[in-house]
């Protein structure tokens, strides 16, 4: 459903130019949850912004659902890392979730019930009338996820979505992502710099090199479902994959050939 071919991006020009993406080729199938992991500053966000149509790449192509992305695609949602700047503080939680639904063919009542349903899925049905700043960071990120769920995108992009919350909340949100994903059968592209997280959440882990980013590894994660924060993380395959991804991220040679 998503096809990226030879995607490059360079910021600026001349000797001071920064080559963020050095030719990315990636295919994501319908319903897949792909984690993209790489060292800090490697161009992960540039990749995501190009897919979202927020940035015009300097070369290559992004094709989503058969059409080339040249502006923000209609059925795509993004969960940003910085929830406090992504949610609108002047609107209630319910309004934040239902506002994007105005472009869909829904009346006010339907929008409201879709928003409530999404909030229920993230366990925040009681917070609909509150304002984002009245909630904790983890809860705000849940609102942001609910907003994306209510929108029912065919592709959900998550840009380091759990990077600004504490460890406990992070695990809760990872499990929440897995839950809603199996419920909606959505295609998700999750960007992270956390190696454990990428292996725990993903069906596939794509490893990027330092900038200019290239794909240095593409590993299939075949861990037993449903995943569990304790047992999955002690599974020998998890431990092995984590080490494998870790090596790739640090630019070391892989010990075994990548799956797929």
């Amino acid at each position: 459903m998503l096809e990226i071919s030879n995607l490059t991006h360079t910021y600026g020009s001349g000797p001071g130019a920064h080559h963020a993406l050095g030719g990315i080729d990636l295919k994501v199938a319908e319903g897949e949850l792909v984690c993209i992991v790489g060292p800090s500053g490697c161009g992960k966000s540039t990749l995501l912004r190009s897919i979202a149509g927020l940035l015009r790449p300097t070369g290559g192509k992004v094709v989503l659902g058969g059409t080339a992305v040249d502006r923000t695609p209609d059925d795509l949602a993004v969960v940003f890392q910085d929830y406090s700047r992504s949610l609108f503080p002047w609107m209630s939680v319910a309004d934040n979730v239902s506002l994007p639904l105005r472009r869909k063919d829904m009346d006010k009542k339907q929008r409201r019930s879709a928003a409530m349903e999404a909030l229920e899925q993230v366990g925040l049905e009681g917070a609909a009338a509150k304002y984002p700043w009245q909630l904790s960071g983890g809860m705000q990120q849940r609102v942001s996820i609910a907003r994306a769920l209510a929108y029912r995108p065919s592709l959900l992009l998550m840009d380091e979505p759990f990077g600004s919350v504490d460890a406990q909340t992070r695990e809760d949100l990872e499990d929440l992502t897995l839950r809603v994903r199996s419920h909606h059968n959505m295609t998700i592209l999750l960007i992270t710099h956390d190696i454990d997280e990428s292996v725990y959440v993903g069906d596939r882990v794509v490893v990027l090199s330092k900038a200019p980013a290239r794909i240095v590894g593409d590993l299939r994660v075949d861990l037993p479902a449903p995943r569990d924060q304790i047992t999955t993380r002690e599974h020998p395959d998890f431990v092995h994959l984590r080490a494998e991804v870790g090596r790739l991220v640090r630019g070391m040679r892989s010990q075994s050939a990548p799956a797929s």
Partner: protein
């Protein structure tokens, strides 16, 4: 507790009044009548009317609402034009580059300097006064709205792009609320400017209004009347500012709270 503390801060007011009373009585200067004399004159001027009209005199009914009406008409008009133009300028760098010199020139003109022009254009009356007020107070609103619209958080704009907000949604639901704290700062400043320009415009070309009453009292050497009118203007300014702050606290509660948590 808050009431008590509020009262605690007010103790200085009677002390100053008593001191002023004593000083002016001792001085016996016609230009500085004692506060009691001013109070008596104020009562005569505005509150000695028939009980069925809440004791308001003809002068009170004729002048005070007229002046306040002009002030609000000017303020609202400046608000609407200033916010609309400001948002446009803030969102369009091209427009802003073209219009900036004109705006800088316009706001450099002292508004009272335009009174002769507006007098010639509209003749004495409400139109001329409102035009003076609008021209004098629009700048802080315009510049603040522009500044607010220029500095909308990039992620808020990207969020509206990702979720495909329409132009009007983006403007009304994202840009305008983002700019609101700055717009309110502009509106507050222009409210106090509006009071000043209201008085000035009434001093020059008017046959009613608080400013006219002030001029009238001065012409008839009614010094307690002059002082009384000044007191009314002071009270009016104080009440307007307090009402504005109360409204701002309500409407921008999200802003203050969101600021505190970040």
């Amino acid at each position: 507790m808050r009431v008590l503390r509020g009262l605690g801060r007010l103790w200085l007011v009677p002390v100053v009044l008593v001191a002023w009373e004593a000083a002016t009585r001792a001085a016996e200067d016609n230009f500085f009548p004692p506060p009691t004399a001013i109070a008596v004159r104020m009562h005569e001027m505005w509150l000695s009317g028939p009980p069925e009209r809440l004791w308001l005199t003809d002068a009170a009914v004729e002048n005070i609402p007229t002046s306040v009406g002009r002030l609000f008409a000017g303020w609202l008009l400046a608000g609407v034009i200033g916010i609309a133009l400001g948002l446009m300028l803030g969102r369009s760098p091209v427009l802003s580059r073209f219009l900036d010199p004109i705006i800088e020139f316009g706001r450099a003109i002292p508004p009272p300097a335009l009174l002769p022009f507006f007098l010639a254009l509209f003749a004495a009356g409400a139109q001329m006064q409102i035009a003076t007020i609008v021209f004098g107070i629009i700048w802080p609103i315009l510049l603040n709205a522009g500044d607010g619209a220029r500095h909308v958080d990039r992620q808020h704009l990207e969020t509206s792009r990702v979720f495909g907000f329409s132009r009007s949604q983006r403007l009304l639901r994202v840009i305008l609320p983002s700019a609101m704290p700055k717009i309110f700062a502009g509106l507050r400043l222009s409210l106090s400017l509006a009071l000043i320009l209201m008085v000035i415009s009434e001093l020059v070309g008017s046959t009613n209004g608080i400013g006219f009453q002030l001029l009238d009292a001065q012409r008839s050497f009614d010094l307690p009347g002059v002082w009384g009118t000044i007191v009314v203007l002071g009270v009016l300014g104080y009440v307007l500012n307090s009402a504005f702050l109360a409204a701002e606290r309500r409407l921008l509660s999200w802003h203050r709270a969101a600021k505190q948590t970040i």
